[in-house]
């Protein structure tokens, strides 16, 4: 599995000729699909960050305030944001459809008369934020656990591995749902940190935790194989202290593996967040995420499908871009690793 040249650490800690980082960058630079995917992600992030500007200057509404009796003038014609209707599932009202003009209600209104386009951008902010923060937690924890487990071995390893095994056998999605349901409606305090109920940090925390075994296991395996590699044996042979081996021989090699995981875990987190939010146990109102907007749109699916379609497309595009980028990063850094994209 691991293509290690005997006696030589694959990642050198000192600057030499072309190091693996530079090689990887050179490969990634010419990977057009990956570069495009990265561009798309930057665009999506920028658009999401510009959400307040959009709400203020383009949509000219507060995307978090209900606007049941609002009116809007389109082509000189005054329309109600929520038109009374006799058909459909939406409680006797059909919200305004998309105007397709770069202005208020470009993508129409939801069943509370809020601007869907503005909410989409705000939702993107939360979706990206949660995916990113949870990825940090997940990769950080998994790296620490995997490295400790693989490096120290023995009892620590056995114990950690068993715990990870149990978590692994626990259906990940059910675990996330269980935790969300229990935690979402109340505040929790762990030591000095207090997380309010309905806070964004709850989904971050939950999503960050559930995929830890998923990453920690391969990292542990990688560390174990590194520990058997000849350059580590050589380092032990010349009497290098354990901390030095850990810092100079193990970590630099583990980092590449972790980086390969970054886009994939981001994609996974984004999917999980949207699923939880869709089940109303992720991001809590009045906050929005792409998942909650799809949930909002479910009742309007047959009358105003755009409410559910738009955020779904946003998820598909973002996750697709992350997966493409993930493929590129993997090919550049670690072509031999077989990491499953799910």
């Amino acid at each position: 599995m691991d293509n290690l040249i005997a006696g030589q650490a694959p990642v050198r800690s000192r600057r030499g000729a072309e190091g693996p980082w530079r090689t990887a960058w050179r490969k990634l630079k010419v990977d057009r699909a990956a570069i495009m995917a990265f561009g798309v992600l930057v665009l999506i992030t920028a658009a999401s960050l510009a959400a307040p500007l959009y709400a203020r200057y383009v949509a000219q509404t507060d995307p978090f305030a209900t606007n049941l009796n609002g009116e809007i003038v389109i082509n000189g014609e005054t329309k109600q944001v929520l038109e009374p209707s006799t058909e459909g599932l939406s409680l006797g009202f059909t919200p305004l459809g998309p105007t397709w003009d770069f202005g208020p209600y470009m993508l129409g209104a939801d069943n509370q008369g809020r601007d869907v386009a503005a909410r989409l951008l705000y939702g993107g902010r939360n979706s990206l934020l949660i995916a990113g923060a949870a990825a940090l937690i997940c990769l950080g924890l998994a790296t620490v656990l995997g490295v400790i487990s693989g490096f120290f071995g023995g009892l620590v390893d056995t114990l950690l591995s068993r715990i990870l095994d149990v978590l692994w056998a626990f259906p990940i999605f059910l675990l996330a749902i269980s935790l969300s349901i229990v935690l979402i409606s109340q505040s929790i305090s762990i030591g000095p940190i207090e997380i309010r109920s309905g806070s964004l940090w709850l989904p971050v925390f939950i999503i960050g935790i559930v995929y830890v075994p998923y990453v920690a296991r391969p990292i542990r395996g990688h560390v174990l194989s590194l520990m058997r590699a000849e350059f580590v044996t050589a380092a032990i042979g010349i009497g290098a202290p354990p901390w030095r081996i850990l810092l100079y021989d193990i970590l630099p090699n583990v980092i590449t593996r972790v980086i390969v995981f970054v886009p994939l875990i981001l994609a996974l987190n984004m999917m999980t967040e949207s699923s939880l939010s869709f089940l109303s146990i992720g991001v809590q109102p009045p906050d929005a995420s792409w998942g909650t907007i799809i949930q909002d749109g479910q009742g309007l699916l047959y009358s105003r499908p755009i409410v559910a379609l738009a955020p779904g497309l946003a998820i598909v595009i973002s996750v697709l871009a992350l997966n493409i980028l993930g493929d590129g990063v993997r090919d550049a850094l670690d072509p031999k690793s077989s990491i499953r994209v799910a």
Binding site: P171, L179, Y302
Partner: protein
Amino acid sequence: MLVALVSRLGQMLLVMFGISVVAFLIFFATPGADPSARIAGRNASQETLVQVRHDFGLDRPLPVQYGLMMERLFISRDLTSFVNRGQKVVPTVLEAIPVTLSLVFGAAVFWVLGGLIVGVVAGATRGSWLDRTLMILSLIGVSIPVFWLGEVANLITQSRWHDSWLFSWVPPLGYIALTDSPWGWFKALVIPWFTLATLYIGLYGRVLRASIIETMQEDFIRTARAKGIGERRVLINHGLRTSLVAFVTMFGLDFGALVGGGALLTEVVFGLQGVGKLTYGALQTLDLPMILATVIYASFFVVMANFVVDVAFVFIDPRARDGH
């Protein structure tokens, strides 16, 4: 051999015990999460809370509560729901199983066939436009949230084009038992099957392609070609056959996880009363006995799947038989 089997079974029991404890702890011992407060409802008086706690045995020590729960779940099997008084948990779960099995089984047929075709065709035509197209489609399939895909499918087949010749056969959302009407069962499930299978077709196609491409570089493929047996035979009987090991492992685990409730989102979107939806409903009302039952049921399938995969491994990979 027998020793290995017994120790494997012991391990399985241990893992299932661990899962039941974790599930129990999540719901009964999370700091600040008082189940009695959920049952009694908001703004319940202190006396009501005490009464509820006593009624449901929530004032006993945690290990005792856990033991009682397990006793009533597995031995007397008379565990009842906290929410719908009188509803027995075990029969309710048993009733939901055929729905979930129907959904996952049918989807599995699609995704195994789809994954095999995509993986083999893409692997065999590596670098061609066909390969590239298939891989892009697979990647898109992997990137679509299943619940959203389900909604889009509903929008098309239930609303927008329901009256066209294309989708007029689609019955309203819900499950039709196989025993009631096999054709109805098929019609009710075929769209959920496709929806659930999409992700896995993409996933399996990608994994299989990578595996086949790697295998086709091996020395033994060159030997096979030198035998003059034709490229298709080389590809299927040597390339694919060797790559199947990873494929089967993945399949076992995914199948177990889905039967164990992982198909929840699909069940919710298509209104199928399976185990996943049951779990979801129980979670929303915090119906603890039901949750425990479904989670343990789920873990049973996941653990079983692990076991079956290990056994299947021995059949597919002769090297595993001798402990290599």
